[in-house]
Symmetry: C2
Subunit: 202 residues, 2 copies
DNA sequence: TAGATTGTTAATCGATTAACAATC
DNA sequence: TAGATTGTTAATCGATTAACAATC
């Protein structure tokens, strides 16, 4: 019920709960055990998480599916449309631009920027970086996605910060320096795979 | 020094240490404080991590860069070539196939599979799924990368498991069921961004 | 020597798990 | 009522941080 200040560990599990309960599961009510099994988690953990987010479970019954979906969506602010821009339209940038999974969580990538002005397959135009700041300000952009090469990442991050974004999703293999009030999430694919590999080989 | 059984929390930071010390930093010796500052971590944490991995720091001096690089590379098994295959050559699959950051950690994506047989820009051939099992067995493939749609993911995972891969890197937004001895790492991009968004908006 | 820097032990913090009480 | 399932409190576990000892 206490929707603010959920621990990050809990927050990280909520999208999976929502996806399962909303799209994969059919019943009118759902128990923590069913969710736990589907997602390979502990059922006490699921129950504790849902307690924080919903608190509307009933003994012997479980959670009313529609109610739980609503509570999860509230906690994830799904109905708040979050506008994003993407800078760096290489292969990875394109993959994110064509990704149709973001809408499920209320996320839209509404602008793409690159020094090369191409037109995407779906007709969207890639804009020059000079227009980034103005675009962000006029379109209420909250998040910048950085898919440029490592050398350009800090410069792009600086531009995004001064354009007023509140968070940066960084795919460049480098640590960005930003003010404290801007949240950065690094998504280093090579490093993720490297860690998996060392576990697998071990 | 105790290279086996590093905690995952530590292991996750090692690639960043290696990348910084090997490619971004120039000096012959390096201190934990310098690394910590560059990566926005605590310096005690860096020192503890390096102690587990190298244990060759010297008071007043720091770590000999070349030695530290070697120890980090050993811990990450960089010199062990790890062969990967990728199944599902959509936009995201292509982005990973064209990613040139994997080699840094000894990782190679040596085969790509899809029901559509296309030729990649660099001349590589995409193979039909029927050849997956035989390819994995004959090429000593350790890791399978799953970039197919959600509906196909479990089937592909089953095929990869029976083909003998030791780990699966899953980009489909679903929890895969695999035997205990196979390690799965989920990389759900939409869910990652959703969590960042709720933090940013908050 | 003095000071910088590592290494280690203890304290803190947070997350997970276990045990069990509450309740429909 | 009995049993299933949630909610809560306490215990455990692991990771981080702080304090300080060791040493070049």
């Amino acid at each position: 019920m206490n929707n603010e200040n959920l621990p990050l560990s809990v927050l990280n599990r909520l999208p999976a709960y929502l996806h399962f309960v909303k799209y994969m599961y059919g019943g009118a009510t759902v128990s923590s055990a069913v969710i736990a099994k589907a997602l390979s988690l502990g059922e006490v953990q699921v129950r504790k998480d849902l307690q924080m987010v919903s608190g509307a479970g009933r003994p012997k019954v479980g959670y009313v599916t529609a109610e739980l979906v609503r509570h999860l969506e509230e906690s994830l602010a799904v109905s708040t449309k979050v506008n994003c821009v993407l800078v760096g339209v290489g292969h990875l940038g394109k993959a994110l631009l064509y990704n149709d999974g973001f809408e499920e969580y209320g996320l839209s990538v509404i602008g793409a920027f690159d020094t090369k002005q191409i037109t995407l397959h779906d007709g969207r135009e890639v804009l020059p970086p000079e227009q980034l700041a103005e675009f962000c300000k006029s379109h209420d952009v909250a998040i910048g996605i950085v898919t440029v090469p490592e050398q350009a990442a800090q410069t792009v991050a600086d531009e995004l910060v001064s354009a007023g974004v509140m968070a940066i999703w960084n795919f460049a293999p480098t640590t960005l320096k930003v003010p404290d009030n801007v949240k950065v999430k690094n998504e280093n694919l090579a490093q993720s795979l490297a860690v998996l590999a060392v576990q697998a080989v071990k």
